[in-house]
């Protein structure tokens, strides 16, 4: 499945929900299933501090593909991380760096990625992109 197909799949899943609470119920469930970062990797350099909730992110390149693990102290934040990881995992640094994560807006969660939102998710996306760019440099 391409990165775009993965986004479309999430969009169709969210179209099934009638209201916000159903969407969030789903996001909360996703938060319980994300590839968790190892406890010993929850160090300050992998911590993205939000004003309210904190995110930990680790990225590895295996066989030219990026693999992310993460954690957050708030479950909704974790669920949204779950969505991001689902789209970006197992992609090349190049496609991650270029990725236009339009699905977030389409499913109505753009507020979580706005600069004024205090949950660290925007910084997390920026860090993912930065990681992708750095790995792009090392492979070319």
């Amino acid at each position: 499945m391409t990165l775009e197909e993965k986004q479309q799949e999430i969009i169709s899943e969210f179209e099934l929900f009638d209201d916000w609470m159903e969407k969030y119920e789903y996001i909360i469930d996703l938060g319980k299933e994300i590839p968790l970062i190892d406890k010993d990797k929850k160090t300050d350099d992998r911590l993205i501090r939000g004003c309210q909730s904190n995110v930990w992110l680790d990225a590895e390149v295996i066989d030219g593909k990026l693999l992310f693990t993460a954690d957050a102290d708030a479950i909704i934040t974790k669920g949204i991380i779950g969505l991001l990881i689902r789209v970006l995992n197992n992609e090349t640094p190049e496609s991650v760096a270029k990725a236009d994560l339009h699905f977030i807006k389409t499913i109505g969660l753009q507020e979580h990625l706005s600069p004024t939102r205090a949950n660290g998710l925007l910084s997390m996306v920026q860090k993912i992109k930065m990681t992708a760019l750095l790995n792009l440099d090392s492979t070319t």
Partner: protein, 411 residues
């Protein structure tokens, strides 16, 4: 308006005055429980903003033309309205600021100029960052010592510890009247007596009290009282510093510029009299005038009835929340009002706040600009519902059901 002419306090009627309360959020009737952060505005304030910019807009104090004089009259009338509301002796003691933070910074700078190495500032462990950081900056600038009076687990100031920290080196006690996070009401009148007994002055942060109870600065005998306009049903960007005249007279100006001068030459400038000495530059004219309107609105209310109603509302909410398993109320002072802060075991406040928002309920989550207080309770933050007189029991019932639903989803 005299006591006898005050309108009886009827919530349903009061609500009609606040258009912002009549809206749907995510298709639900808005329940606004974030009054500790900012209050909604009554129609008279909204009309006054419109009227000012539609008709009276002109720069004040220096103009000879009609509009300038009209604006000046309205602005100075507002100052007197506020003076009367808080029972200050003179209108010169009412300094318009940008807000509570600005007022505290003004005192930290100008009163701070009168202090010298070795002097001490005493605050409490429940202060908002804006009543901590300006004092830290002052202490660095002038080599002073900042002391912090501790609180107990209920969120009450420990008076015996406060007494121990208060000494002849203490030059200023800076304390919140009501904690924005806990709702604790501090005994500021009693603290003022203690401060004065050692020769210290006292600043009361009234950001969370001015909208909830009658304020009499002479009765409190505080040297400074600061608050923000937007938390007391007025506009943002305007606030008030009350200071005793004799003290304000001794303090050097905070900022230099127009309006605060008497005579300027390149060699020497003499400063204007109070209150203008502390009001450099074109002020927030519309803000001042409309804050005056907010206080006119408040003057017509029976504030004793308001205070009782808000306390009962907060207690009702707290009692209902207290029945939830795993939920802990943060701040259980005997004397508290208008605020209920809580945490739920195993659930992050951010998650509850997000789910409440989607049910049309505005609360605040996080550290509420009181990080040292969160450290004391060893929590990342709380969910805070903060009430105003326009909130109702029915809203509390909906809120309680929404909290229950949220907790069940997040378990």
């Amino acid at each position: 308006m005299t006591e006898g002419t005050k309108k009886p306090f009827i919530v349903r009627e009061i609500r009609q005055e606040f258009p912002a309360l009549r809206q749907l959020i995510y298709n639900k009737n808005l329940i606004y429980f974030d009054n500790g952060a900012t209050s909604q505005k009554p129609q008279v304030v909204l009309d006054a903003i419109n009227m000012y910019y539609s008709k009276d807009n002109a720069n004040i104090h220096r103009g000879v033309h009609f509009m300038s004089q009209q604006a000046t009259t309205e602005y100075e009338k507002a100052r007197v309205t506020i003076q009367n509301y808080i029972h200050a002796k003179k209108s010169e003691e009412i300094i318009f600021t940008k807000g509570t933070t600005d007022g505290i910074n003004l005192v930290a700078f100008s009163f701070g100029e009168l202090l010298s190495e070795g002097d001490e500032i005493l605050i409490t462990a429940m202060e908002h960052h804006s009543n901590i950081v300006p004092w830290q900056m002052l202490c660095q600038r002038k080599n002073l010592t900042l002391r912090v009076a501790p609180i107990n687990k209920k969120g009450e100031l420990i008076i015996e510890e406060f007494d121990k920290l208060l000494n002849s080196k203490t030059k200023l006690v800076a304390v919140t009247h009501i904690s924005n996070t806990l709702g604790t009401i501090n005994p500021v009148k009693e603290l003022a007596v203690k401060a004065h007994a050692v020769g210290a002055k006292i600043l009361v942060d009234g950001a969370q009290s001015i909208q909830h109870m009658p304020i009499d600065v002479v009765d409190l005998n505080c040297d400074f009282f600061v608050f923000s306009g937007h938390k007391v049903f007025g506009p943002t960007g305007i606030g008030v510093l009350y200071g005793k005249e004799a003290l304000l007279d001794k303090m050097p100006p905070y900022q230099g510029g127009g309006d605060m001068i008497s005579r300027v030459t390149f060699e020497h400038t003499t400063y204007n009299e109070l209150p203008f000495k502390f009001e450099a530059g074109t002020p927030h004219i519309a803000g001042g005038i409309c804050l005056g309107k907010a206080f006119e609105f408040l003057s017509e209310l029976d504030m004793d009835a308001v205070q009782k109603y808000e306390k009962e509302l907060a207690e009702y909410a707290q009692d209902m929340l207290d029945t939830f398993e795993g939920l802990a109320i943060i701040g259980e002072a005997k004397k508290k009002t208008s605020v209920v802060s809580f945490v739920v075991e195993g659930i992050h406040p951010f998650d509850i706040g997000t789910l409440l928002d989607k049910q049309g309920i505005a609360v605040r989550t996080g550290h509420h600009c009181t990080q040292p207080l969160m450290d004391f309770f060893q929590i990342p933050g709380t969910v805070r519902a903060s009430f105003a007189f326009y909130n109702t029991r029915e809203e509390v019932d909906i809120f309680i059901a929404a909290v229950e639903k949220s907790i069940n989803m997040l378990k």
